[in-house]
Symmetry: D3
Subunit: 230 residues, 6 copies
């Protein structure tokens, strides 16, 4: 991970969406992308893939050997990037299976996020690649989808994703942080995490939420005092 | 739990829906409310919350400090009650996160049932609050929802819920028992559980289902005989 | 399992859908049928059940005692067959509960596949019957469905299923192999599994996918050579 | 139309659903079946057709020449009957086009009701056959559907339809009246129409609805008096 | 119509949504509410009704005589107001039929907007009441819905509606203008209409859109000049 | 229209989908694209536009002035082409309104096909541009969508559309004919229309459908004879 993304490692997607909403961005969470298997947190820059619906004369296994193929795309993705695939929410054909996921791990990619599904879920889990998707399906992508290219602006799960956007994904799903807002959002999110940790402690002590969350002036003063007291 | 609800502890939601259907009530199971994490069974009276769609000028984090807020509502809920939240089936914004769930535990509330989702799933699970929901999402409620009040009749998962209705929730979801039918339903359900336990035993012995489930006269006689033989 | 189905035990549903697509069949995977609990692989011939929507005068528990009942149907299913139930995708009433699943196990049926849901999930899991479904719901089938008969052609999860079709189900869901294609598909699938196992090994060695998957002439030659070298 | 159905000609589907609900039947209106073109009212007995999802090896135009074809089915339908086709709500392939509709008119069938769509809408309208459907689509039925037979119990638009059930269709859609309730429902519906006509007159006179609709004792007395005064 | 709403009569819902979006409000158009019959434009203040899902013991025709009934609600609505009914998007039961619509006309209400449907469409159209809805269905509201009260904040078609909000409805549907923004939005909308009328004239003259719509500095100067030249 | 497309003018989309299905292409009809207003038939080459979901920092009216805007795209479309816009099925924001449609007419474009909706329906109809869409909505495209470019492969209504594909649209919707199949499909479709016209005549004479549609050997012989007899 590049250094400018380090700060995101300590913040949850829940916190990021709160911060982004305060900046006016409500539509940043990729619908349908749930962690498959044990949830971890990954951070990286988006490498985008685009699919469109299948047409029978084009959607054949031979298409996998075309120069514009998912195979070629994966070779072009920078190490550490997160592959974000627009599968148009298709749930009856898997965009990737074990072989492509295994290659992604070999190439050092950080993970896969899609609004579709994967296939050969046992094999995919065995590769260790972190995946966020709607689930699994047996049929190959060409049963429903044609790949059209990479590193274009895409829609994924109802959200705009541009190549290079910061992606953070954890147990609550995957969030897009626009590049130009990344530094500011990271700073605000770190502070928000700190505040919420203090509030959780107050709740543990039995404090009621009205006036505490969000904090009124009195609560904020106590928080500021606590921050200064190590 | 109040004493009049004790009988419900031993009956499953499957049994309750069978009994209610025999009384003419088919629409009592809250669609979309699945147990998050290990399923337990909870019983309690409904404390209802209502949300409507967000409008950008009102759906801001500042709304959380309004007198009509989810924070204020939770302070008003009786100990042992089950919070039932109408989120209109929204799955891309969490009605509650870890902080509100932690407060619910502190206040002795029995659980949360919603047709929407929660956020910060790791934090919510850590509180130990039993939750029935569609899953999890990172965005805060204000990204999609405005809270309008508590203890009104609501729709939740396609079912009418009135304040004080009996709620039973387990691995098969959450069921509403209208207050005025509660005592009669509890009695019938306890007997239905007893009958089905006997039928399971018969199936174990190799008895075929036609004539056994539901029992014909002969099977019912055997059941009655078995009941008398301790 | 009859001998002619043995070959299917070693092939995944992912591989089967790839082979069937090459034969022109894209629509063979039953949408909505996910394994409940730990995924195993089962193989068997389809025994079909059909449901239609409920009408209140007919959809009553008494219907369970009718000669055309799910109870009677289960007695008619051959040992080793897989029950495939068209529930029209209904998710708010369970087609079967613990008692029917227990009887299926007693009768030696291989599993249950449905585009609907089951009920009393804890009881169903306790029977050990392998089940593929959308999940669980508390209400009985008659809350939404009427059973109309068995061993008819049905639709299930958007796929045509004829009595006697070969069903293979595993972690990626359930696939229908038309009877008349079964032998040919089994042969092709076994070979496809062998090829993909070799490709996985190549990926492990660091080979990039373009030219390897699908294999170009050079890669295929290497594969053929490897096959001959034990 | 047979004489026993005459009474239905004067009652609307709105009135029929009100009467059926009072008899405990809430699920009798076929979802998705809207009148195409100018709405008329038709009354007849259901002649049912059943479709399942297409499989590419079977769903070919040649299937139209099979003995189990929609063509053969239409020849078997009694004059005056209403064809009710279960298309599983499919909206991207038309169950019938102009040629089949023209033959239905020649055979004296009263109309077509489906939860799917028709094709060649201009041609269908030219035949004059009354049609209730979701709309129109260009593709032939075999693009999505296989025909499996006629005169079976079917689901159509979420409603159970048995061969011979009474169907009434008008501008508000199509309603199923179970055969055994037909005579009683017709009588009640005729009376309900009479009452509502009187209420409309009262509203015209400026009477407010509370106490009038439904009528309280005073209003009912006035209604009874009005009935006796020609 | 009160004088402060006069300005809205000359602006389309398309223009209003453009103006509201510039003020940061994107979610103001009621999904599913289409004009039934010939489209007119109506302007008025929202009088809100709320429905929740039906439960069989409560959703009976007798409920229509309850003090909390749609009948009572209509008597409470101010002349000139627009009834906005939250039907939760239900399309298989009509919230209102001809009798209630006839009473609304008698009481001088301006129209009905709902995310559900009406029933007895022929009768409703005969009353002349302007209606925006998803369409028509034969079943009465109690087949699916229970009425819970009036003049509460509601959701309708995915939009928040508060009692007294300004509603404008025309051929493109129905839009909610928050009360506190009404005056400012009306002024901006009138000016926007004027600008777009000028642009349409320019397009008629053959001017290309880049630079014209939205206008660049040169185009805006020409527009300002044109405004001053009568 | 270029000369090579002349043959398509006489064939319906229903006939085209039948012919394409015989060539193995089932997925060629654009779901959701219905004719708005009086249906005509248009034929032309696809000029594709692509939209993705909106993000609040980018989806502002100012975006309409960007070099990558729908305004710029329309200037690039060849005369006689049909604009096909991927709106991802969005129905709550109109891709185009009256001003853009007016410009399309000025530029000699043949029509607009989208899986989304238009806005200002009255104004759009006044331009006379033939439009196939899901309907109308008041909000501007930026309320939900961002435009990303033109003349790329797109999905529209679940169908792949490549720049230059032949589009035929009529009362039954819009169909895509892949460029490389266009000549062959046109020939087959003209012959299919001729055959079906003869069959309609036979049905008028009272001939039953089995054996006639599709024609068996005897019927085909009669058809061939009729073709030779002017």
């Amino acid at each position: 991970m590049s250094d400018d993304l380090k700060a995101f490692e300590g913040v949850s997607t829940s916190t990021l969406t709160t911060v982004l909403l305060k900046k006016g961005l409500r539509n940043v969470w990729i619908r349908g992308a749930r962690p498959l298997g044990e949830a971890v947190r990954i951070v990286g820059r988006a490498f985008t893939l685009n699919f469109i619906p299948a047409r029978e004369d084009l959607a054949v296994p031979e298409a996998w050997a075309s120069p514009i193929s998912t195979r070629a795309a994966l070779e072009a993705a920078p190490e550490g990037s997160i592959v974000v695939a627009n599968a148009m929410g298709v749930t009856d054909a898997g965009v990737f299976g074990d072989i492509l996921c295994a290659r992604m791990v070999k190439r050092g990619l950080a993970g896969l996020v899609t609004d579709g599904v994967v296939r050969d879920i046992a094999g995919v889990k065995a590769t260790g690649l972190p995946v966020w998707a709607q689930g699994t399906a047996a049929p190959p992508s060409v049963a429903q989808l044609i790949f059209t290219g990479w590193e274009q602006p895409i829609g994924c799960g109802g959200v705009a994703v541009f190549p290079g956007d910061v992606i953070v994904a954890d147990a609550d799903g995957a969030v897009v942080v626009p590049t130009k807002l990344a530094a500011e959002v990271a700073d605000l999110a770190v502070e928000q995490e700190r505040l919420e940790a203090w509030i959780v402690g107050e709740v543990e002590r039995g404090v009621a939420l009205p006036g505490l969350y969000p904090p009124n002036a009195e609560a904020r003063a106590r928080y500021e005092a606590a921050r200064k007291t190590p």
